[in-house]
């Protein structure tokens, strides 16, 4: 069974179990020996359905799968509080079942968290997948109402990049296709690395990779292609990166809003604004009837 099938199976299992609980809470409560807890059980049902939908609807459902593991722990705790007498026996059986399911959940979660699809279930046992993962590349596209030459020229001067890439602090061109990069890391840290251009075709393409020793190993390509009918230039960015600290590092980075999947499209939106209008659209610093000029909830998450 590959990891995808396993996750889907668990997703449907979640939904089925959740539905059963919601349709007949009392009967389920009786079956597992927690008659007195059927109201809590209903919440378990809702949780199961949400988790199931989460697993089935996401490309990379790792966090939902971990959510299942957490749910299993809660369920075992709930069962442990079952009343004495024969309820105890039924709850004991149910606990054993939940324990088994929990094991399957953990396997699926670890598989998904290690990221590399091809290593599949073997990784859990060989430990392969626990090395820093090779993530899927981040890809993003935007169309800019300017000729390719102009965009290429702007981009090739790497020192321009921090003007629209908010996580970059500075880029220095050290000559001979080499450059030095400084960026914001998770939780207020700073990261630096050196990079080299690996391929370059004027007005068409720039490829780069970080040099050995970089904390965030990365490589990528940006391509500039004329849009159909003279409607500007299409920019394609493909970025491969290996975050520091593997899965844990990537998760922490995500929590602090440093995830490239989210950041690159926003950066492209900004470079388009800068090249087309000469400025970057913003409301930071405008008045509002509250202490902050922008909304932490709605604005800041995608602007910083």
């Amino acid at each position: 069974m590959n990891e995808q099938t396993l996750a889907h199976g668990l997703g449907w299992f979640s939904i089925g179990l959740g539905a059963a609980i919601l349709i007949a809470p009392r009967r389920v409560a009786q079956a597992v020996g927690v008659e007195n807890k059927h109201d809590i059980l209903q919440m378990v049902g809702v949780r199961e359905i949400i988790t199931g939908i989460g697993i089935l609807s996401e490309d990379r459902p790792a966090r939902w799968l971990w959510g299942r593991v957490a749910g299993d722990a809660m369920d075992i705790a709930l069962l442990a509080s079952a009343p004495k007498l024969d309820g105890r026996t039924r709850a004991g059986v149910a606990m054993a079942v939940v324990g088994g399911i929990a094991l399957v959940d953990i396997i699926a979660s670890v598989q998904h968290s290690t990221g590399d699809r091809r290593s599949t279930s073997r990784s859990l046992f060989t430990g392969e997948g626990l090395n820093p993962p090779v993530k899927r590349p981040v890809v993003a596209t935007i169309t800019i109402n300017k000729p390719a030459e102009e965009i290429y020229r702007f981009w090739r001067n790497f020192e321009n990049l921090p003007r629209f890439m908010s996580h970059l602090l500075a880029v220095t061109d050290t000559g001979d296709g080499h450059s030095h990069w400084m960026a914001k890391g998770p939780a207020g840290t700073e990261i630096e690395w050196d990079a080299e251009i690996t391929e370059e075709r004027p007005d068409e393409l720039i490829s780069w990779r970080s040099l050995p020793g970089a904390k965030v190993q990365n490589s990528g390509t940006v391509r500039f292609e004329p849009a159909t009918g003279g409607r500007g230039t299409v920019l394609h960015v493909e970025l491969h990166y290996r975050p520091p600290g593997g899965v844990v590092g990537a998760t922490i980075a995500k929590l602090f809003g440093e995830a490239p999947e989210k950041q690159i499209p926003v950066d492209l939106m900004r470079v388009k604004q800068l090249l087309e209008t000469g400025e970057i659209a913003s409301t930071a610093g405008q008045p509002a009837g509250r202490t902050r000029s922008t909304s932490r909830k709605y604005d800041d998450w995608l602007r910083t």
């Binding site: 169309t143 109402n145 409607r231 500007g232 989210k262 499209p265 926003v266 939106m269 388009k272 604004q273 087309e276 209008t277 000469g278 400025e279 970057i280 659209a281 913003s282 409301t283 930071a284 610093g285 405008q286 008045p287 509002a288 009837g289 509250r290 922008t294 909304s295 909830k297 709605y298 604005d299 995608l302 602007r303």
Partner: protein, 405 residues
């Protein structure tokens, strides 16, 4: 400065906030002389527009005097009197260069949020939720106008604020709605909703050559205005069945074009209204498309349904079968105001229309919360309120039917 801010459903407050500053080279700051409450602001007031945040300054129909310009502005000077179009548009992107200003690709700094909901993001709009950019609005003493070199209409001295203020939104909105109908000689146009946009749609339909225009509403003062000012025939949907009346009036064919100037908070006199109301309250259906359904059903075969009314996300039971089998054309969109401001200003200057006719109330900015309440509940025959920053109390107005407390 003082500004009217949103703090929640039915909770507007005029509070002291910092003055706006130039944030980008193409910004200008204006001192607002007149600012209006739009029917679409009532959707904010009623809490139907998502991604609002406590303290958001609202308002998107405003004009005033330039007091400061950014270094990137060459065509505006301090002292210029300008009307500001409600969509914020860069003037440079693919859409702006095709005059599709409300579809500007660059002006919404929160585009990814709108993209999640709509697939692509429209332009930013003043004071109309964070999904639309989170820009501070113009129900205030001062406002920052981004891309001010593109987004302004200079006003000659001889025209009053009341004559030109509505070039910011409702006049172009009613006009574009009528223009979308592709009106032919002899056409009959029906307009659902005789609020301010409906009034301008009625006037514009005649300006564009309609032979007959029919206004549909339930408030007598609005119907009276549609009839007396706009010259429309009228239907009060609480008294007669709209579809039957329209068939009777159009020889059984239906109106050639139907304009839905109502939008997401439509009312109705039927069970259907109760159904939508209940679904909306349960958050199962954010938009309440009662007027739209009726317009689609009444429209003649091969006709056009034009939708200037604001819808936010999803509506149920749109009669797709009628659209397909009657071969209807559906036209909609936020107004490309920048496209219409100059030609419509010319119509005002030529005396073809005086947009001030919709104003029923002028009040001080500080009375904004009271004005919202009055407008929402259609008290004192309120159709359109203009707020005057700097005036503490209601100020007299020359328009007919003005009621001052």
């Amino acid at each position: 400065m003082k500004a009217n801010c949103w703090y929640g459903k039915h909770d507007m407050r005029v509070v002291d906030v910092p003055d706006p500053k130039i944030l980008n080279p193409r910004d200008a700051i204006i001192r607002i002389t007149s600012t209006a409450i739009c029917g679409s602001d009532l959707h904010l007031y009623d809490g139907f527009i998502p991604t609002m945040e406590k303290g958001d300054i609202i308002g998107h129909e405003f004009m005033g005097e330039v007091v400061e310009v950014g270094p990137g502005i060459k065509n505006l000077e301090v002292g210029d009197r300008i009307v500001v179009p409600f969509p914020i548009s860069c003037g440079n992107c693919h859409f702006c260069s095709q005059s599709l200003f409300s579809l500007c690709e660059n002006s919404n700094p929160n585009a990814p949020m709108a993209k999640k909901v709509y697939g692509q993001s429209p332009a930013g709009i003043y004071g109309y939720s964070h999904m639309m950019g989170g820009y501070a609005g113009g129900q205030a003493e001062y406002a920052r106008v981004p891309y001010a070199d593109v987004d302004h209409l200079k006003i000659p001295e001889e025209l009053t604020d009341e004559q030109v203020l509505f070039l910011s939104d409702i006049f172009p909105t009613g006009y574009m709605a009528a223009e979308s109908c592709n009106i032919q000689p002899g056409d009959t146009v029906a307009v659902w909703g005789c609020g301010p946009v409906g009034q301008f749609a009625i006037k514009s339909a005649y300006l564009l050559g309609a032979e007959r225009v029919i206004g549909i509403d339930r408030f007598p003062e609005r119907l009276r205005m549609a009839h007396e000012e706009g010259g429309a025939e009228i239907i009060n949907y609480e008294e007669v069945n709209t579809y039957d009346a329209l068939m009777e009036m159009t020889g059984g064919r239906g109106p050639d074009s139907c304009i839905d100037a109502v939008g997401m908070e439509a009312h109705g006199a039927t069970l259907e209204y109760a159904y939508d109301r209940a679904k909306q309250a349960l958050m199962l259906e954010p938009d309440r498309p009662i007027a739209l359904r009726e317009a689609i059903r009444a429209c003649r075969k091969g006709g056009t349904v034009s939708i200037p009314g604001v819808y936010g996300s999803l509506g149920d039971k749109i009669p797709l079968g009628a659209i397909v089998n009657k071969g209807l054309t559906i036209k909609s969109g936020q107004t490309h105001v920048q496209r219409y401001m100059k030609p419509l200003l010319e119509r005002v200057q030529k005396g073809e229309i005086n947009p001030g006719f919709v104003i029923t109330h002028e009040m001080g900015l500080e009375e904004a919360p009271k004005a919202y309440d009055m407008f929402k509940n259609k008290e004192r025959e309120c159709i359109k309120v203009v707020l005057k920053p700097g005036a503490k109390r209601a100020v007299p107005v020359g328009s007919p039917e003005t009621v001052i407390p």
